[in-house]
Subunit: 140 residues, 2 copies
Amino acid sequence: MSKAILIEMLKEKQLKITPQRIAIMEELEKNGHLTVDDIFNGIKLRVPSVSLATVYKNILALQNANILKSVKTPTHKQKYEINTSPHVHLFCKICENLEDFEININNFKEYCKKESGYHCIDEASILLTGICKRCSNTRK
Amino acid sequence: MSKAILIEMLKEKQLKITPQRIAIMEELEKNGHLTVDDIFNGIKLRVPSVSLATVYKNILALQNANILKSVKTPTHKQKYEINTSPHVHLFCKICENLEDFEININNFKEYCKKESGYHCIDEASILLTGICKRCSNTRK
DNA sequence: CTTCATGCAAATAATTTGCAGTAAG
DNA sequence: CTTACTGCAAATTATTTGCATGAAG
């Protein structure tokens, strides 16, 4: 995603274009899943004045604007990602790395909606825990 | 589940049988999904001396023993449940209530494992967000 | 210029830890 | 008796808030 597109996304939601916001979005685009501290440390180089409070406030604002999503992992640190194509999360319980696996889950959501009687289902957050390929090789 | 079974579960994992642990497990059995504070307040009646720290410590121990599971919801409060049959979670974004929907997800896990190249997948944590039947009726 | 965002410091939550005393096996 | 658990208080970590200043539109 180019910087111009990031700016467009902010404009569309009537959010002001600030270097801090651009930096947060770029940081999340470069690296897939980051904690608040990852983001804070990552952007300090480009925006040295940035404060942790601003990162928190913007993460909130960008989530409300549907630009970011939070990812809940078994560790206690909350992670964030920039919205992309549908996917589920794979979490390795050995190395604690989190990766995306792109997959269309519309059928699954549809099925759950029909069977459960829920009125509508917008979001699906799916986290699968196991052992990644690299860790399973290392252990042999 | 009878008290005897709960005791069995603890014994199996070589955990000591204490009134605090029994109370936590019973509390979670009675009510589906509880926060740490829910549990703490719920069991204070039966075990008045109990401290919040003990609840935290036991939740940790019981999770390690695979007796409890944590459920991550979009709200900031962490919830816990006692292990039962396979299910996914439905979260209503209006009333913020969390409910279970029992469904076998082995096929889904198997499919993800095969397609993603992950070595193994043990756990699946699935949370679907939408609007429950009651809230959708209320709004009409 | 008007409104919203930033950065600081202080406040609040949420969770963890250390340790002396106590109960379970 | 020995080991693990409890409860207290203090420490740590994570997140939020208030407010004066500064930047964006």
